[in-house]
């Protein structure tokens, strides 16, 4: 019997329930799991907490879920490219919580690697010493940042094998490896899926031990293409 983690998007995303916390890969378009997000939209799941670096841009990625009113809370590092999400936050229809980008990634990693949290001096000048949890190590003050995990991670990879071993490309890696470690159920979409043994063990970016389900991207349409407004004009 040969094992395979390959499933359809509908099968893979079935366990995603209202009220879930989803870790969503991507920095802007690259690495955003459009196929899996499309499935979540289609199946009507709501009351979601999303953790993603940014809010994508209007009409794209997680912004579609936000626009459809499916998201109550977004944990991110920068939502500047999505005025729509900013407006919804102003209107009290979306709760946005921001962290410095690398600290958000480290909080998620800590959750994934079984740590309780990290000690950081980033942004310490903004803390209220009375309200914050500060500790001193080696004569330096640090703030305790608790680990952050999700119920489900939605991950985009360039290539996967049927065992769930993943390869990323370019700037599409971003939050994907950290998030693929930090959820109870890890669902991956990949542009290409190969047989076990087709990937060089040295060239796997994230071992399949972390991955539960793998989905083949069937339509690599406009969601995965070049956004003309971010390209130089000819």
């Amino acid at each position: 019997m040969t094992m395979s983690k390959l499933q359809t998007a509908a099968e893979a995303c079935r366990p995603i329930r209202d009220g879930a916390t989803l870790l969503v890969g991507g920095f802007g378009q690259p690495g955003t799991p459009h196929t899996l997000l499309g499935q979540v939209l289609a199946q009507g799941t709501g009351e979601l907490t999303l953790v993603k670096n940014d809010a994508n841009e209007p009409g794209l990625g997680i912004s579609r879920l936000i626009e459809a009113g499916r998201v109550c809370r977004l944990i991110a590092s920068h939502v500047g490219l999505n005025p729509l999400a900013v407006a919804m936050s102003h209107a009290g229809r979306l709760q946005i919580e921001v962290y410095p980008q690398g600290i958000l990634a480290e909080k998620i990693r800590a959750g994934g690697v079984g740590l309780g949290g990290i000690l950081t001096d980033i942004g310490l000048h903004l803390e209220n010493p009375a309200a914050s949890r500060l500790v001193e190590v080696g004569g330096i003050q640090y703030k305790i940042e608790p680990a952050l995990r999700g119920d489900i991670a939605l991950i985009h990879a360039e290539r996967a094998d049927t065992m769930g071993n993943l390869v990323f490309t370019g700037t599409a890696s971003n939050f994907n490896p950290a998030m693929a470690m930090a959820a109870d159920l890890v669902i991956v979409e990949a542009a290409e899926i190969v047989a076990a043994g087709a990937l060089d063990p040295d060239q796997v970016h994230l071992p399949g031990a972390f991955v539960d389900r793998v989905v083949l991207i069937e339509s690599t349409g406009s969601d995965y293409g070049v956004l003309k407004h971010h390209a130089l004009q000819a």
């Binding site: 019997m1 040969t2 094992m3 994934g112 690697v113 079984g114 740590l115 094998d161 049927t162 065992m163 071993n165 470690m181 930090a182 047989a195 076990a196 043994g197 990937l199 063990p201 040295d202 796997v204 994230l206 071992p207 399949g208 031990a209 972390f210």
Partner: protein, 216 residues
Amino acid sequence: MHYKHRIAQRAAREIRPGQNINLGIGIPTLIMDYLPEGQQVFVHSENGIWGMGRRAAPGCEQPDLIDAGAAYTTCVAGAACFDTLTSFAIIRGGRIDLTFLGALEVGQNGDLANWIIPGKMTPGIGGGMELAQKSRRVVVLTTHVNKSGAPKILKTCSLPLTAPACVGLIITDLAVIEVTGEGLRLRELAAGVPVDEVVAKTEAQLLVPAGQLPTF
């Protein structure tokens, strides 16, 4: 069959298809020879392999591919190699379904002591503490008594613990014993071993079910 192999053979029956497993030093490494054929199991080696295969055949060793005990090993199709950070992310992140470990002592509440022998300098815990504490299930493989003939399965461990209340099942040369909420329950006997002998050689209280017990 040598008792170590009989323990390993019995231990292999605890493995379910698709599980991520880790094999500690000693008897656990022998399980490699008894993995169910044609059933996908992912063997993790904490020095950086997921999908470890059997030991390298003589003359086929790759200098940069060893197991956690320094023996030359191989990868199966679908394996991945990685660094220590990733390897222990798998362990502490709760992705190891089943770990087999040796023991100096096991307490009746599942406490495990397998790293410090009093009066000797400890060589260090290596990856054992994280494996014991964070694997979803820990199965101990050990002789029932130590070299002096004293029981290893105790009411309370006397040695410093590797991890508290972590053991789910104990497989020895004499018996299979389950750690339950009510205490240690005798599950199976090694062929030819009477219940009385197991009870006599176990310091902890044993719950012995009525009727015939399966043998292995």
